[in-house]
């Protein structure tokens, strides 16, 4: 790197990179700024700082209810999905077995299939089996999608584990269960936590699947916002969107800091 240091810099890529970063963040920043705009037309004209629209959002009973639904669904689906994904990762990481690629492809399926196809397939299934569209159907469907999201970081963490640790535990007469509980789980918990956080963000952000399977009275926040946006732009949507951004960004930052501290 030292001698050829200058050659590694490809001219223009630095400027291009900063332009792309600006492009990625510009819409988000504009949205956040406009959510504090006092103007009631939510046009691009700045009329002073105000948190008025947050108050309006908090006073909207339907919206508050949809936030409760979203959080309930995300918490339960994430808990189930993370446990199930951890078990699966324990089975697939650091070993080779016949059919491993097939198993991993199967586990990744929820992320590969376009969400609209998955959504209508699950809708048809619920209708046929007779599960009422509501909280239960939302939790079941969201659990499917949290599994692969949580699985990947947990497995990555397991892959990075020194195999000698588990071997040493076995040499010292630890049962597999003891070795799992005392050695492996304490070492991979940052991976589990970051997997769970990503799964939570994924569940909280889902629009398409929830749109098809949320019944009357069990609308999730994104579905509620989706219907609001289709009716027109309102400053309240800016405020709620900013809250959603803040939620996912803070969880993500937490997961990033965890990863940096423990790697």
């Amino acid at each position: 790197m030292t001698r050829a240091g200058d050659l590694w810099r490809f001219p223009g890529t630095r400027a291009a990179a900063f332009a792309v970063l600006a492009y990625l963040y510009l819409p988000i920043i504009v949205l956040v700024v406009l959510s504090f705009n006092a103007s009631d037309s939510s046009l691009a004209r700045w009329e002073g700082f105000s948190t008025h629209w947050y108050a309006v959002a908090a006073a909207d009973g339907n919206m508050v209810h949809s936030i409760e639904i979203s959080l309930t669904v995300a918490c339960i689906a994430t808990s189930i999905g993370t446990v199930v994904a951890t078990l699966a990762a324990l089975a697939t990481a650091r070993t080779r077995f016949r059919g491993r690629i097939a198993v991993e492809a199967f586990l990744a399926l929820p992320l590969v299939i376009p969400d609209i196809v998955a959504a209508i397939a699950i809708l048809l299934f619920f209708v046929m089996v007779g599960i009422q569209l509501g909280l239960l159907s939302l939790i079941l469907a969201h659990t499917v999608f949290t599994i692969p999201i949580a699985y990947l970081p947990i497995r990555a963490r397991l892959e990075g584990l020194d195999p000698a640790l588990a071997e040493a535990a076995a040499d010292l007469y630890a049962t597999p269960w003891q070795s799992l509980r005392r050695i492996i789980l304490p070492l991979i918990w940052p991976g589990i936590l970051s997997g769970a956080m990503l799964a939570f963000i994924g569940s909280l952000g889902d629009v398409v699947v929830s749109y098809f399977i949320s019944g009357p009275g069990s609308t999730t926040l994104p579905v509620y916002v989706f219907s609001m946006v289709r009716m027109g732009v309102t400053p309240t949507v800016n405020a709620v969107s900013t809250l959603l951004i803040a939620a996912s960004a803070s969880l993500l930052t937490l997961s990033y800091l965890l990863g940096r501290r423990f790697n």
Binding site: A88, L109, P114, D115, I122, L123, V225, L244
Partner: protein, 294 residues
């Protein structure tokens, strides 16, 4: 033996959830696509017909003859075209930043990776909504263009295929940056050093060494962008308006206003088949590529 049983036990819950709640429903969807539509929506479970697939290609004229109807094919072609354009555009935008990121010091690399993933994990709906604020008449770009004297008429970008394209490129850009970055980061630096030692300039090192070796990442990125784009539903619904129908919105209509579930299932099945076809093509190509490299 106990090892195998243990592994099976650990894998069962995950595979059962996905099997029962996703794979089984997909099979059911294929089944529904061969059923007759019920008189008031829904389906008749006992009556089979291929009408949904016939409806995809033909319509009946006044004499009750089947005539070719390309309306739905056009919607599919338009969606495929838009997904392809989006994939190529994201590649052009993503490659320079991925290249730049890959050659940064390790500490900064992790940070940059984080910076790129934050928008990716931001709610898709919110990201698309933000573009409404930017693109609509009287919105940020419109005011900017008018106040700088660039134009005196409204921009009229929102609710057009162009807006859908902008939204799709924006939504899926991280899907392209990440795999390219990963393949560039893994790339054996000594190969590039060797190229420089042998008198290659930057352009040659880029086109002869870096680009070919990052092919797996590029192809992976193209697939990761193309597949969800093809079935995109939120972006066309919010930014595209109702004028240019895409596959996703067409499928949704069958479960909304049209209440034609078998046709909706058939459309979804055709979409799924298209994607499986693209993935198989990728797998075959990748195998050939891997064979050539080793």
């Amino acid at each position: 033996m106990s090892n195998v049983r243990q592994r099976a036990g650990l894998l069962t819950p995950a595979m059962a959830v996905i099997g029962v709640l996703l794979v089984l429903p997909l099979c059911l969807m294929a089944f529904v696509s061969t059923l007759e539509r019920g008189p008031d929506g829904g389906v008749i479970w006992s009556r089979h017909t291929l009408d949904p697939y016939v409806q995809f290609l033909f319509e009946r004229d006044l004499m009750d003859r089947l005539v070719l109807n390309t309306d739905y094919l056009q919607i599919f072609a338009r969606s495929i075209g838009l997904a392809t354009t989006t994939a190529v555009l994201t590649l052009v935008i993503a490659f320079p930043i991925a290249l730049w990121m890959a050659f940064q010091p390790p500490q900064r690399r992790t940070f940059l990776l984080f910076v790129v993933t934050v928008p990716f994990w931001t709610n898709l709906l919110v990201r698309n909504y933000a573009w409404i604020l930017l693109l609509r008449n009287g919105g940020v770009f419109d005011r900017l263009a008018q106040s700088t004297g660039l134009t005196h008429e409204p921009l009229n970008v929102l609710y057009s295929p162009l807006a859908t394209g902008i939204g799709l490129v924006y939504s899926f850009l991280p899907f392209m940056i990440l795999p390219i970055y990963v393949s560039l980061e893994k790339l054996d630096r000594r190969l590039i050093e060797a190229a420089f030692d042998l008198g290659a300039n930057r352009w040659h090192a880029l086109t002869r060494i870096i680009l070919p070796l990052s092919m797996p990442g590029i192809v992976g990125g193209l697939i990761l962008v193309f597949v969800p784009c093809l079935g995109a539903f939120v972006t066309p619904a919010l930014l595209g308006g109702g004028k240019s129908l895409m596959i996703g919105s067409l499928i949704q209509q069958q479960f909304g206003q049209s209440r034609n579930w078998p046709f909706g299932a058939a459309l979804a099945f055709v979409l799924l088949a298209l994607i499986v076809f693209a993935l198989v093509l990728h797998a075959l190509r990748y195998r050939r590529l891997a064979g050539r490299l080793t």
